[in-house]
């Protein structure tokens, strides 16, 4: 009995910890399908986290979530301006955007939270009536915060957008063969910019989930590479929102292991668990290979 309680606790923690990763990765999968690899989502997520903390401190959790989305969009706009409009190298521009967001949030946090931000309101856990009582599935998936539920909605929505709409078809064409897309009358730049902005909004939400559903405060550099992990997750999930969500859950599990082992009083050095998600991501990159190469024009400017 104790074992199954432990298991449910672990699985629920995996979902909670996996939520920011899934949100960021679903958004990034849209951007990458359009041919844009955005290393700036690490920065967009950090900006989202900062926005969430400031918004929540001043106007409650709803303002926090709203501010997070706006912050993520702002960061993505900079990336879109440099990498889409000015056609600069995507990898380097993304790195620069993340650097800038790290510096700026660090600077602004000094001003915003000088008195400490211990009184930050956080998102409540919402029990979904009836289905929360389904054995295993209920307590694991349906006793979470509203941002996890938003993720459940976003995944099929993103999937439908990519494969069931004309816009999705055009978006994927931009990622596979931008020259052909142009010839077919698709405005590649505009489509890619939109995809990047969607990715930015999702990364902002991911930052909100990190602050408002997990950590409860903002600290400098608090995303600690989660945005980069999300990029590996997209490859592991084969550039498809459903696969991406499953991969995010796996990474949530890898991170949640740490808490479970610590609670069990294990003597394995905790740094091993700190490194585990990154090592797993590396292994995932190796395994994802050969079966799916990803969009043909990924990372190429047009």
């Amino acid at each position: 009995m104790i074992d199954s309680a432990l298991l449910v606790g672990f699985a629920a923690a995996s979902v909670r910890v996996g939520t920011p990763l899934a949100l960021a990765a679903v958004g990034e999968s849209i951007a990458e399908r359009s041919g844009m690899i955005n290393l700036g989502i690490e920065g967009a997520m950090l900006a989202g986290a900062f926005g969430a903390a400031v918004g929540a401190a001043h106007g409650g959790v709803a303002s926090g979530v709203g501010a997070a989305v706006v912050a993520g969009l702002l960061v993505a706009t900079v990336f879109a301006a440099v990498a889409v409009a000015a056609r600069a190298d995507q990898i380097i521009s993304g790195t620069a955007v993340t650097l800038g967001a790290t510096g700026l949030t660090g600077l602004l946090a000094q001003r915003a939270f000088t008195g400490g931000n211990l009184s930050l309101p956080i998102l409540p856990v919402v029990h979904v009536p009836v289905i929360e009582h389904i054995p295993l599935v209920g307590p694991v998936f349906f006793r979470q915060t509203v941002l996890t539920y938003a993720c459940y909605v976003l995944i099929p929505l993103a999937s439908a957008l990519l494969w069931r709409t004309r816009f999705g078809l055009e978006l994927r064409a931009c990622g596979e063969a931008p020259a052909a897309a142009t010839a077919a009358g698709v405005h590649v730049g505009r489509t890619r910019a939109l995809a990047v902005l969607m990715g930015g909004a999702c990364a902002g939400l991911a930052g909100a989930a990190l602050v408002l559903a997990q950590v409860g405060m903002f600290t400098e550099r608090m995303t600690a590479g989660r945005g980069f992990i999300a990029i590996a997750i997209v490859a592991l999930g084969r550039w498809n929102p459903w696969g991406t969500a499953a991969a995010a859950l796996l990474f949530g599990g890898a991170t949640a292991l740490q808490y479970t082992f610590q609670a069990a009083g294990s003597h394995v050095p905790y740094q091993l668990f700190l490194a585990l998600p990154y090592l797993l991501a590396l292994a995932a990159l190796g395994m994802a290979v050969g079966r799916h190469r990803g969009p043909a024009a990924l990372g190429q400017s047009h």
Binding site: I91, T95, A96, T102, G103, Q110, Y278, G286, V289
Partner: protein
């Protein structure tokens, strides 16, 4: 190769290097105003910390410039071959761990022997850290961008483990290692200064890389692969993946050397957060130096001064040092945008 024809070009390059930096500082000043920080004390502290005195310049700016130059060259080496090494933080950490481990055990050896061993350990540590990304790229065609990036975080965890586990100081109190043997430390360049032999090593590395890239077949192949992989492959004489893989491996090794130089010349022990983000700052250094080794040197000194100034800004004006990353971001983006136009 006529020197007179190159001179105006060099001057223009230097000018081009100051414009992005000036723009970056302006943007930072703008944000300081917006956030309500007092700007003049900040600018004052920044200037004093960087260029305020010969001591500040040599013992702070040039000391910070040393790892930035070495890492900037590491990035340049990979980038010239079309490989982007964004994992220099991790390789720096691995080089620092290896150098510390070796440096703790070399007490009996004279400095002439001990120092080269420490530096070699750093090179090896960095090379080991980038091995997996190199294999993934060569064997499976997986981009080194994500793999090197991910290993940064493993590197942070490895340092954290080392200084609380196998390499923790004998007192077992603080998360740091014991000091390395005196003979394993890089000597200071002049008495009372903190500037150490590592700076000279950085200068030599830049000169060496410049010659290697311009004057050797190896350098030519490397640049050919980076500039036009398809054309390089069509010649049938350049093993494409091998050239890029070797360049990436050396890029990692150089970044590891940076970690060894930091331990052996500055900290004398392993700490967490040994690098305040040098691995990323160095990308800005390399781009500002337009990926030419001798210009990377100049850019490294400018950014070393900026780091030193940021430290002073944090101490004297209470502005978090991480704010200089705004300047770095602006520099990178400006360099990207202007490089495209002048290319």
């Amino acid at each position: 190769m006529s020197g007179t024809a190159l001179a105006p070009d060099r001057t223009r390059s230097l000018l081009q290097a100051t414009v992005p930096l000036g723009l970056g500082l302006l943007v930072l000043a703008g944000f300081l105003v917006l956030a309500g920080f007092p700007v003049m004390p900040a600018v004052n502290a920044l200037w004093r910390g960087a260029f305020g005195s010969w001591y500040a310049f040599s013992s702070a700016a040039l000391v910070h410039a040393t790892p930035l130059i070495i890492l900037g060259l590491a990035f340049t080496l990979g980038s010239k071959a079309g490989a982007i090494n964004v994992g220099m933080e991790g390789q720096f950490a691995a080089g620092a761990i290896a150098a510390t481990w070796v440096g703790l055990h070399l007490g009996a050896l004279p400095a002439m022997v001990a120092i080269p061993i420490v530096l070699a350990a750093g090179l090896l540590g960095g090379a080991v850290w980038i091995t997996a990304p190199v294999i993934l790229r060569i064997k499976f065609g997986i981009t080194e961008v994500i793999s090197t990036l991910l290993l940064n975080f493993v590197g942070y965890a490895a340092v954290s483990y080392a200084v609380t586990g196998p390499l923790q100081e004998s007192g077992r109190t603080y998360p740091q290692s014991d000091a390395i043997a005196a003979s394993a430390r890089l000597p200071q360049l002049s008495h009372g200064s903190r500037l150490h032999l590592g700076f000279v090593l950085a200068l030599v590395t830049a000169a060496l890389l410049s010659v290697l890239l311009r004057r050797t077949t190896w350098g030519f192949r490397l640049r050919a692969v980076g500039a036009g992989p398809r054309a390089a492959a069509l010649t049938g004489r350049i093993p494409l993946t091998k050239v890029a893989g070797v360049a990436l491996l050396w890029s990692g090794a150089l970044a590891g050397l940076g970690g060894a130089v930091e331990v052996s010349g500055v900290s004398y022990a392993l700490f967490q957060n040994l690098s305040p983000g040098y691995g990323f700052t160095a990308i800005a250094v390399a781009l500002l130096g337009r990926e030419r080794p001798m210009l990377v040197l100049v850019a490294g000194v400018l950014f070393g001064a900026l780091e030193a100034g940021a430290g002073a800004m944090q101490r004297d004006a209470g502005i978090p040092a991480v704010a200089v990353q705004v300047v770095e971001a602006v520099v990178i983006i400006t360099a990207l945008l202007t490089a495209r136009r002048s290319a």
